[in-house]
């Protein structure tokens, strides 16, 4: 099992929402990284197209330029210094860059981008390195640009409810700084203790509370961005909108392909007066899914709404003893927050809905300790599953929730076909499904079969009207499945948009959007809702 490097480095931050990390709640560390199982290095390093001599010359040219911008200690190029940066949270993919730059000002970032633009050297930006799609995988002929040292909280305006921060500030640090003012930053990916806000912007990170409070894109006001040619732009405003196109929305979730974000103004929300959680057990996973629909149909938008299937329940219970009913086919965790009186009223309504929907048992956390215990099992689901198997692989599809029973049945069938167990945890409120495939990389061919199964699960998500990634991003990992989700014309449109920002394609190359050539090699065909678009067109 490979644990990715964490200490002091950084990253993308789009990963698993973690209900325990509420600003008013438990701030303990994850019990394990959601992807701690990871892949072993099953993927060969992408080879540089350059000869070793040419690569060395390129590296010397880059390092010499960087040393004109940064102090020596902030430019890494010895192989042993580069290793900590060879992967992000998806450690199956590893690559050494030519060099790592560690700027601590936006001006330095600008100078570095200008240098690389002049030298035509690819640049991969990196936050805390917690991303789960190999989006911060270095380029063999490129610079790894770490933004970890830009970690100042520049200004908190309690009256306007905004925080202006640098990209290397940790997600949770913003809420901690806002807390004395009764405010917090709502999006809370499970890696929030480590992941950076810059990475959150790059991935449009979610969190367990995003059904009610939105994704990163809904909680941003303004971005300072530097484009590959060194132009510094302000997108958005401290007002609620800005003239022209909504480039802030476009930049959010663009996985570091359009620009480098050097300053972020986020909106802060008042801390809710109270949060309360219910746990409901079901004999039938379809009933649990229907209960989610019934809660929403009753006009209630819970702060968090999570589902686990039986393998996930058993794994979590064995690990943290949260008191989960291990015979249940599924459990639901439903968190409500708001004014004290409001929560009291809603808890009763939700409890009744859960009972009416066939729950075999409904428990309300009696106190904060029990609330945290309920969440602890969910929070520990990934490492708990990791204990059952040498390795596991986490998928990240989103589906229309009403298709859940069908999707789970088909995943179970595929699981049997492949002989690989799958446990499911589900952000039930927003339809984001995380099947965890259990495997052993030491068995020959098992990693490949796991990836094949994972790919089929994502294609299933697309087929039922969903998407290949709800929150982890495409990165390197899911680039082939992009060929399934999008038509060649749509991919071509994405490339044209990219070229408007970065005509030479130097920012995070070969990530997020596949070339049509790659799709042709992958052999996948775009399918939307089981219908081929433009059946008259030739296919790649």
């Amino acid at each position: 099992m490979t644990i990715e490097p964490r200490g002091g480095h950084q990253g993308g931050g789009h990963d698993h929402p973690d209900p325990g990390h509420r600003p008013e709640g438990n701030r303990s560390l994850d019990q394990g990284h959601p992807h701690a199982g990871g892949h072993p290095s099953g993927h060969p390093h992408p080879q540089s197209a350059l000869t070793p001599q040419a690569r060395a010359a390129r590296q010397a040219e880059l390092v010499s330029g960087l040393l004109g911008i940064l102090p020596t200690a902030q430019v890494l190029h010895e192989t042993e210094d580069l290793h900590p940066y060879e992967c992000d949270g998806l450690s199956a993919y590893r690559q050494l860059p030519l060099a790592v730059a560690l700027p601590d000002t936006a001006d330095q970032v600008q100078a570095i981008l200008r240098l690389c633009h002049r030298l035509q050297i690819p640049v991969v930006a990196r936050g805390a390195g917690t991303g789960l799609s190999a989006g911060a995988l270095p380029h063999p002929e490129g610079l790894l640009l770490s933004l970890a040292r830009l970690k100042a909280i520049l200004h908190i305006d309690p009256l306007a409810r905004t925080a202006r921060v640098q990209p290397g500030v940790r997600n949770l640090a913003i809420s901690e700084a806002a807390r004395p003012h009764g405010l917090y930053y709502a999006p809370d990916p499970s890696s929030q203790i480590a992941c950076t806000i810059g990475g959150n912007v790059a991935e449009n990170s979610g969190g367990v509370h995003c059904l009610k409070y939105g994704l990163t894109v809904h909680n941003l006001l303004r971005l300072e961005v530097i484009t590959m040619d060194g132009e510094r732009l302000t997108l958005g405003a401290e007002a609620l909108d800005a003239p022209g196109y909504d480039l802030m929305a476009l930049m959010t979730g663009s996985e570091g392909l359009l620009g480098v974000v050097v300053e972020i103004t986020v909106r802060l929300l008042p801390l809710p007066e109270r949060a309360q959680v219910l746990l409901a057990a079901y004999d039938d996973i379809g009933q649990a899914g229907a209960a989610v629909g019934a809660i929403i149909a009753a006009g209630i938008i819970p702060a968090g709404l999570e589902m686990m299937d039986n393998p996930a329940i058993r794994a979590a219970e064995a690990f943290v003893h949260a008191g989960y009913p291990t015979q249940a086919a599924a459990i639901l965790l439903c968190e409500l927050d708001g004014a004290n009186e409001e929560v009291s009223q809603e808890i009763l309504r939700v409890r009744q809905i859960l009972l009416d929907s066939g729950a075999t048992e409904v428990r309300t956390a009696r106190d904060e300790a029990e609330r945290l215990l309920f969440w602890k099992g969910r929070k520990a689901a990934f490492p708990a599953v990791g204990r059952l198997s040498p390795d596991y692989y986490c998928m990240d599809g989103t589906i229309p929730r009403r298709r859940l029973p069908e999707v789970l049945a088909r995943i179970a069938a595929m699981s049997t076909d492949y002989g690989l167990p799958v446990a499911n945890v589900f952000h039930a409120g927003d339809g984001n499904l995380h099947p965890l495939i259990l495997y052993d990389a030491n068995r020959p061919g098992e990693l490949e079969r796991t990836e094949e199964l994972g790919g089929k699960i994502l294609e299933l998500c697309v087929e039922v009207g969903g998407t290949i990634t709800g929150e982890h991003g495409v990165g390197t990992e899911k680039i082939d499945q992009m060929c399934v989700q999008f038509h060649p014309l749509e991919l071509t449109q994405f490339h044209a948009v990219k070229a408007a920002f970065d005509p030479a394609g130097l920012l995070n190359p070969a990530k997020a959007v596949p070339t049509l050539h790659r799709c042709a090699e992958f052999g996948a065909m775009h399918v939307h809702a089981n219908q081929l678009k433009f059946p008259e067109l030739p296919r790649f």
């Binding site: 995003c210 022209g244 909504d246 229309p400 709800g470």
Partner: protein, 456 residues
Amino acid sequence: MNQDLTQTLAARVASAQAEGRPLRIQGGGTKTWLGRAVAGEPLAVVDHRGILSYEPTELVITARAGTPLVEIEAALAERGQWLAFEPPHFSQSQFSTSHVSPGQISYGHISAGHISTPDSQGASQGAIQGDNPLPADPKGLPGAATLGGTIACGLSGPARPYAGAARDFVLGVRIINGKGEVLRFGGEVMKNVAGYDLSRLMAGAQGTLGVLLEVSLKVLPRPLAELTLTFELSPAEAIRRFNDWAGQPLPLSAACHDGERAYIRLAGNEAAVRAAQARLGGEVLGAQAPAGEDRDAADFWRAVRELGHPFFRQGAAPLWRLSLPPTAPLDSRLGSQFIDWGGAQRWVHGEHPLWPVAQAAGGHATCHGLKFGRVAHPDSAEAHLGPAVSTADAVNAGHAPPRAVSPGSREREPAAIPEAEVFQPLPLALLALHRRLKAALDPRGILNPGRIYPEL
């Protein structure tokens, strides 16, 4: 009639692109004034209409762009849901169901009131009632706002600072780009980070990046209870209080100051609204209206949303919208102001361009021209769609003539509209990026050219 005109529309765009002929995209024609004049042959999208899917428990609706907004809102209302960003319609029908007319709106029934909820029928309790956003004619009148126009213009109502903007609710779109290609971005699920977010980019792009064919929106349950409170506050004090309140866990859903009083709307479950009322005090708007007919609060906020409040109809000077940081100090040089969005949106009448003033205050300005100026007769269609002042008046006032739009003249000559600037000028580097992006989606510049800026 619901129909799919995708192929027809795509073919027209493709042939226009082949010949380099600009197109002027037309929806319901209710917001033509929000932008520069477009010289081009009309491309009507109104007949491409129909709700394609709506699953209340998934909180998603998908409809063709020409679908009347009232039809969408009616479908949602049947299931107790709504578009939480409260899009303005600027349609004639918006006032037709109200028992008061714009310009005559009275909302003086102020007293301490009790709370009721829609499902308790209001009974003897009075005051709180959900704003029923459902106008009388869900079939949609000619000149009715469409879904496509709503998203293309990206406008949001009073709830915007608390519920989010139009773009925040966009989950996916299907568009025709400037090459006549039919493309789909985003989807019908809440979370989707595959590919660049071109769907939210369409909100506010006014059709210059693509012709909207279908839009998927996140919808939300309507609050179970609503209550509007009013306060005697100066505008400057109101700005301070609005911001202060927004930093507390209160169920705020709107906050404005009309130049005389402050109004805040609370929305949520009954307990939350009651608790907030107890904490905030103030007077309840509309408490004395007969049970079941309490439309005062709803009328008030609809008038704010539709710019039908008397404030917007005073004076012959153009109306400006200033979008500012919510805490920006009140600029008394600007004269009388209508403050909305908890301080983040301020309306003023002004003879001179306010772009520099807005920029200095950390925001931007949009010129809404004279459309919302003086009104001769509030019941006439002219009050909503017609020119508010004559061209001669405007010229005499030293201003560009109004963007005249009269009912039934949706196909009006572009020449009748002056090429006045509407939107805040962009910094040059940002404008250059806008131009490259426009070229990426519309290489020959045929989609609504010049609608936002001459260069796009």
